[in-house]
Symmetry: C2
Subunit: 184 residues, 2 copies
């Protein structure tokens, strides 16, 4: 990507303006490339990992979860926040064990995505988890979910019909479809 | 989507805990379906609209913008927050005029996505804008950007190569590819 003009903003001041139970918000004063000044506020996030657990028969493991901000259930692939000191690969393995109760011999990175570039620094690494064996799931406290096994075609139909709208799950499915069909 | 068990959380208390220059954070105390209690914090957002401006020769208009939370440039489709009283369709038309300097005869909704279901109520409606005519762009103050015209193949290659990682832009490209190839 070549830039016609420099767009870089320089941080002048930086302050943690909100520290909640879960969320942290940072406010930076920035110097714009045209000499002006502006305020940027954004959620600080350690990053996350998602994985598509692929069963030996090709079906995918999905979880249905109530998402309070939107007051309804969403169908998603298992995912979670990176713990301090973890790599995203370790997070993917840990979340697979905790949420699904599975261990994967193969965990392959598909891509990295950025869900909230306007007001958050989160990234999510999207993995495929294969060659699964089963252990007991260890869900986090307050994490209540339904596990479903679903064919790729069914999942892709739900995406097309607008019933899967979570961005990390949707992008994982689009990437998986390309890989499945050897399109890239 | 059928639920095996009810996952609904009931809001017991609700409080606006942060009101910044741009960001608002709400904290709710919730009753879990298993009788436990938990805290949910999330960013309140009015929703947004994105559009793919399609030129008569098939090229797409993209904008390169510095995104301070991640301290680098991103290649994106034009998008913006819904103003009070607007529909997302009106937002799409307004942002097309402001950021690109174009008016579209045809503005077609592709789908709605949810970028941050874990800690935000934002949705983004993804549109295709066609039959464009040109007017003067009116960028918001502090919004400095580079406009690029790029073929669909080039944009899709950047997505595959991991150079387009903004979720709204990536999903708009995947949807547009399906529509272009009459795959759904």
């Amino acid at each position: 990507m070549k830039s016609k003009k420099d767009l870089t903003e320089k941080t002048i001041e930086s302050e943690l303006v909100f520290q909640g139970h879960w969320l942290k918000v940072q406010r930076d004063k920035v110097l714009l490339p045209d000499g002006g000044k502006s305020i940027r506020e954004y959620v600080l996030h350690p990053g996350a990992a998602l994985m598509i657990p692929v069963l030996d028969d090709g079906r995918l493991v999905m979880i249905e979860q109530y998402r309070h901000p939107l007051k309804r259930n969403f169908l998603e692939f298992p995912a979670g926040k990176i713990d301090h000191g973890e790599t995203s690969l370790q997070t993917a393995h840990r979340e697979l064990r905790e949420e699904v109760g599975a261990v994967a011999k193969s965990m392959q990175l598909m891509t990295r995505i950025h869900p909230v570039i306007g007001y958050g620094d989160e990234f999510i690494d999207l993995y495929m988890a294969k060659d699964l064996t089963w252990v007991d799931p260890e869900p986090d406290e307050g994490e209540i979910l339904n596990i479903q096994e679903i064919s790729f075609d069914e999942a892709f139909a739900l995406l097309r019909q607008g019933q899967i709208t979570d961005v990390k799950t949707s992008l994982a499915l689009f990437w998986y479809e390309k890989i499945l069909n050897a399109k890239w």
